[in-house]
């Protein structure tokens, strides 16, 4: 099933790699992603993922990442 996530993260070195890598390693195929640094410190990411697993599990894994500030399942 495809689901959309909105993620706010600190714009630190490697943050986007970590975010996308976590999604893939946890069994979620990244189908679409749009990322934009909105001010000097924060990056907003909208991503669509596909998996048989519950997206809430991914949301909780993403929240463990040090630079992730907020995750919303859209």
């Amino acid at each position: 099933m495809k689901q959309k996530l909105l993620v706010t993260l600190l714009d630190t070195e490697g943050a986007l790699q970590r975010l996308l890598g976590t999604a893939e390693r946890r069994g979620f195929r990244v189908c679409a992603v749009h990322a934009e640094v909105v001010d000097s410190a924060q990056c907003h990411v909208a991503m669509t993922v596909e998996s048989a697993r519950d997206v809430a599990l991914l949301a909780r894994q993403l929240l463990r990442l040090h630079e992730v500030r907020k995750v919303c399942v859209a």
Partner: protein, 562 residues
């Protein structure tokens, strides 16, 4: 080091900032190995109070830092140069990640201008380690080094601990940066649980006729052993432990059913299969513990208590989830939970009696379970055991009297052969007064054998008991049982002479072959003041029993090959 302009501001090189920040963190020991891209840091070490332990392979540094951290509860620090030094650390970093061990790994990196050009000894260790670190940094300017170290240490220790990597380009180590000397940061704690969840948990416990605690490594990490012991004493609820949960309860506690899972005790596995409420405490439903997940604790509701929200529902849904600090939650639950019924406690006690370990195996050759049982009694409750991976590791879990989680150092999540010796060295350096015993196998010891030189150099008095079955026993056992005895690449009958090998490193060593030699060997090992290796020849055909076959339910344990 000289003072510059504004008060409190100091100018130091990046390397000096690193070393002074580690000192400010209270780090006393660093395990490492030098090389080109980290030479400025090694230069700064000359003037520092830090004790640097020169291992003989970077994997040994990371695993020793892991053992140091597990035994002491303090952060373990390792460092290496760029490229091969950094990649050699990776297994140890992954090991710490899988078992939630607080670690700081510092790698030298080629100079900033060369990064991304395939420079000599350049690897993207930041990228390579992403899946196995809690967090990581590349420091881009000298003035940021100290603050990064403090942040990294706080992240490594806080919440659910884990390894943090700092990659430090050589030019940043050399550059001078102006900053205020900073101090250790407070670790981020675990958010308190919500009152509604606590109420729901109590209600679940109150409605259960057959509650069972499923105790994982999270209990030791949260330093909640005493709170757990009090909970069990107050409620009488029986408990099973994972490999990493062993030690959370007193080995003699009447409620302890033993380890669950693949090589767990039948008492523990049967209790899990028939409980009606499974209280997961800092446990993560790992496949080695659950067997076939769909049939695990089939009739049970689940109360999942953990510091890490991401563990809840990851593999098995929770009827009630309680996210919070275990050491604070358990006393609250102890006060408000009912006492387990007499019927259920009696049932569990009878399972325990029925499946109690026996040590009366026939024969004259050394029976490893009995040796481990006797050695652990003789070594005393304060002894720390570090083991390698294989059959001997499972025998330790089954037969060693483990009194506290931090006295049983085992590579649980990653199952890293080669863990035992460096972990024992790290533990002994962290706890100089403790008796540290390494139980290894003839396969595993060869993976970090070079660290005998480290034991010798620093006079680290670890006691090594090498259980030599002349094979990769655990793999051989699986081939015997599940691959129709088609033995493939498990024979080690041409092992080197381990006694001569240890002596070549300057380590005292002796060998035993027969059961009647065991008592004197135990005495000799424990009486040694320096490092010593006792080589024990055991039957190559010995298997670890019982066993849940792969893919099977924990209710379908095999008790022998027949």
């Amino acid at each position: 080091m000289d003072n510059a302009g504004p008060p409190d501001m100091v100018v130091r090189s990046g390397a000096e900032w690193l070393v002074s920040a580690l000192e400010a963190e209270g780090v006393d020991t660093v395990f490492g190995y030098p090389g080109g891209a980290i030479m400025p840091v090694y230069d700064a070490l000359v003037d520092s109070r830090l004790r640097h332990i020169l291992v003989r392979h970077e994997q040994g540094a990371a695993l020793a830092a892991d053992g140091y951290a597990r035994a002491s509860g303090r952060i373990g620090v390792c460092m290496a140069t760029s490229g091969p030094g950094a990649t050699n650390l990776l297994t140890g970093i992954a090991n710490a990640f899988m078992d939630s061990v607080p670690m700081l790994a510092i790698t030298g990196q080629v100079s900033s201008a060369l990064m991304g050009t395939d420079a000599f000894q350049e690897v993207d260790i930041f990228g390579m380690s992403l899946p196995v670190v809690k967090h990581s940094f590349i420091v881009r300017c000298a003035a940021d080094v100290a603050a990064t170290v403090h942040e990294a240490c706080a992240i490594a220790r806080g919440g659910r601990p884990g390894p943090v990597l700092i990659d430090l380009p050589k030019d940043v180590q050399l550059a001078r940066g102006t900053a205020t000397p900073s101090r250790s940061r407070e670790d981020s704690g675990v958010q308190p649980a919500r009152a509604v969840d606590i109420d729901a948990a109590i209600s679940l416990l109150s409605r259960s006729a057959r509650p069972l605690l499923y105790v994982g490594g999270g209990v030791g990490i949260a330093r909640a052993e005493m709170a757990l012991r009090d909970f069990v004493a107050a409620t009488g609820v029986p408990a099973v432990c994972t490999l990493k949960g062993l030690g959370a309860l007193d080995p003699d506690a009447p409620e302890l059913m033993g380890m669950l899972g693949m090589h767990g005790s039948p008492a523990a596995n049967h209790a899990v299969q028939c409980c009606d409420l499974l209280v997961a405490l800092g446990a993560r439903f790992d496949d080695r513990a659950t067997g076939k997940l769909e049939t695990f604790a089939p009739g049970a509701r689940v109360l999942h208590i953990d510091a890490d929200a991401a563990e809840i529902g990851k593999l098995r849904g929770a009827d009630v989830a309680l996210r919070g600090p275990l050491a604070q939650l358990l006393p609250i639950l102890a006060q408000r939970s009912p006492v387990a019924t007499e019927d259920w406690r009696a049932h569990c006690a009878s399972l325990r009696r029925l499946y109690a370990n026996r040590y009366d195996a026939p024969g004259d050759d050394v029976y490893a379970p009995a040796l481990l049982h006797d050695l652990s009694r003789a070594a005393g409750p304060g002894a720390i055991v570090a083991c390698d991976v294989g059959q001997h590791q499972m025998w330790v879990a089954q037969h060693w009297r483990i009194n506290a989680c931090n006295r049983h150092l085992t590579s649980g999540g990653l199952g890293t052969m080669g863990y035992g010796l460096p972990a024992a060295l790290g533990a002994q350096l962290a706890c100089p007064d403790a008796r540290v015993i390494c139980i290894s196998g003839d396969g595993s010891i060869m993976m970090n054998l070079q660290e005998l030189a480290t034991a010798r150099r620093y006079g680290i008095p670890v006691k090594i008991v090498l259980l030599d079955n002349g094979c990769l026993g655990m793999v051989r056992q699986w081939q015997e049982l599940f691959f129709e005895e088609r033995y493939s690449e498990v024979d080690l009958s041409d092992n080197p002479d381990f006694v001569a090998l240890a002596r070549a490193f300057g380590i005292a060593a002796f060998s035993i072959n027969r059961r009647d030699e065991v008592p004197a060997a135990i005495e000799r090992v424990l009486a040694a003041t320096g490092p010593i290796l006792c080589h024990v020849r055991i039957d190559p055909r010995a298997n670890v029993w019982p066993l849940v076959p792969p893919g099977k339910s924990n209710g379908e344990m095999m008790e022998s090959a027949a």
